[in-house]
Symmetry: C2
DNA sequence: CCCTATAAATGGAACGTTCCAATAAATCAA
DNA sequence: TTGATTTATTGGAACGTTCCATTTATAGGG
């Protein structure tokens, strides 16, 4: 019986022979209602095809149960997994989060945030777009909306962050390369407008310095964080007078690009040039050769971010502790000619 | 200056020395307001840190500008791209769509749909989860919410569908294999609870029959639509007395699995066993060997779906034409030992 | 049988907007 | 000057809910 105009609690009330207040109480599962009455009301709800108007409710209720997840790049499986991790915990909390993609575009991000604010979100988990200005979240903060950053942080912000231990991951990976005997190393890809970049390069530098690599033997080449960027980085590096023999890549996409470019030049990734990735996406394991990479557990970080968010909402605060997630260097076949570990994946590292 | 209680149009009105109605008009960009007044109001809006309450507005306005996109699997880049295509269109229409992931779970999907309805969506684009029951969208339809299916359809539904020409794509791919001289062919992966599966298998069958392949020489093996599924299919096939020499795979993930399993057995994908994928995800091009696959242009389909949705909303209808998108067989290196086309990508086909 | 305590149900105001009808001010034609 | 017309602005009701303060019914104690 689809009536054109949508039914309200008044229609249900009439149908069930009670008052609108009673219907409201039933809707909220209040124990104040006599069970038989509740049954009667629920039947009426079913009969008239009623759909709850959350907008109207929120008008009165102070806060909504809507949580927004703002992701910088959904086509990157890495971030998609982050989103999925968050969804999992919200689901079990009975909340349906809304996702929006910013496609690494700060302007787009602005629109998305505005829209979510207007929608009256109870909280926001954000993986900020590259180039986000420090003031982008001012309005949200002013409005007292709880915010959590995931995977990425902003330079000078007091908003809590859930992110992997980039520094340590880069350190482990670099140490691994040095342990394989490499003495001239490169860091490929990424750009300095990302805090993550500085953390990873920082880990790379610290490992080099600590383990006795000369400053002139460490090479940092910025580039796109994509296959294309990886290809470009390798070209640049190999064009040098004294090229590096190994590279830590900003992420796995860059690493795939590097391997592709090596092949194109007739070089074999691994024996001829060692490459390590970062993020450990699913493809890393299935690549030829399988890519050694720093695993960051993005679904786990997503879950963590969601938990922090729920706690913030529950306690009505806008502050929370940062959380730096453990990383693991997953050793596969792409780095160094060490035949002992060839064809066998091993795990070392494991940060606090 | 962030006042704890959020500002309303009344606060702005007081601040600017006008009435709430004037503020409302300014907010809607009405031309009825004297420009100087509008300026004054806009300044007040800025000063008090006002955020528009869309929920309250929708209460009055009949319909919201919220559009929901319900995706069955966001970690699959194929569907993520679909979503991105849709977003692009909505963005340029000034709409921020909300995405939700159902993770191929009909129960989850039910929750998501309910939540979106309560939120008062103006329209819904859905890639339904596997195993969705025919009645899952009844309430939405009753409520008169415009719905479009993308990529997937439901068996007996009158909801408009935007999907690739699966039948023709499978036909082209199969014809290509037969053209390479293969005479015993398999279809790998997928399961019959998906309409897409029947379309693709249908195309495969038709090509075989039309081009003179004996029925006993065409093999259909169901399986998971993942790498793992592909591996399993190949094992099954090669264990047969008279194994096939080529396979069309349900999607690229299955194809990757098949290639992996071939390698593990010391066989070279291409020369030793031809494999064709479906969907043409980005990795297909970069794989070793590069995968021949049926390209379906998912962002394009997403855009199309979004356009159809906008038109439905605009015209207040709940009906629209189906749209079957063109497909292209992108020939790379993974099928058949034909050296002439080796290392060169070529495009054939191109459906209406 | 009355008074009080408890349980169940209810009416009204409020939430922040939009939109219509109405008013006030300014302009114009005669 | 007067009435008609146009231009800007405004108050009030309505949207669908929640929640508080009441009311009504039911039971218990003396």
């Amino acid at each position: 019986m689809a009536s054109r105009a949508k039914a309200t609690i008044f229609d249900i009330a009439r149908e069930a022979g009670v008052s609108k207040s009673t219907v409201s109480l039933v809707l909220q599962g209040s124990g104040l209602i006599r069970p038989e009455t509740a049954v009667k009301v629920r039947k009426a709800i079913e009969d008239v095809g009623y759909v709850y108007n959350r907008g109207a409710a929120n008008l009165r209720k102070a806060h909504s149960n809507v949580i927004g997840m703002v992701i910088n790049d959904l086509t990157n499986p890495f971030f998609a997994e982050l989103a999925v991790g968050m969804e999992r915990v919200f689901q079990s909390a009975g909340i349906v989060p809304f996702m929006a993609n910013t496609a690494e575009n700060p302007v787009r991000q602005e629109e998305v945030l505005k829209s979510l604010m207007e929608q009256g979100v109870a909280g926001l988990i954000v993986s900020p777009a590259r180039g986000t200005t420090p003031g982008a979240f001012r309005r949200l903060e002013m409005a007292g909306v709880p915010i959590v950053f995931a995977m990425r942080r902003l330079p000078e912000s007091r908003i809590p962050v859930i992110a992997p231990d980039n520094h340590r991951g880069a350190y482990f990976a670099t140490a691994h390369l040095i342990g394989k005997g490499h003495r001239r190393l490169a860091f490929f890809g990424g750009s300095s407008d990302l805090v993550v970049y500085h953390e990873r390069v920082g880990g790379f530098r610290e490992a080099c310095e600590t383990l006795g690599i000369d400053t002139r033997d460490m090479l940092v080449i910025e580039g796109e964080t994509s296959r294309k960027g990886g290809i470009a980085c390798l070209e640049t590096a190999l064009a040098m007078a004294e090229p590096p023999t190994a590279a830590l890549c900003f992420n796995d996409a860059v690493a795939f690009g590097v391997m592709l470019a090596l092949r194109k030049r007739g070089l074999e990734p691994g024996p001829d040039f060692a490459v390590v990735g970062f993020d450990d996406v699913i493809e890393a394991e299935h690549y030829m050769p399988a890519l050694t990479s720093v695993a960051v557990d993005s679904p786990g970080l997503g879950e963590r971010a969601a938990h922090v968010m729920l706690k913030m909402i529950q306690s009505g605060t806008t502050r929370a502790e940062d959380h730096i997630g453990a990383v693991n260097l997953v050793i596969r076949e792409s780095c160094g000619p060490d035949r002992r570990t060839r064809n066998r994946a091993a795990v070392v590292g494991g940060a606090a």
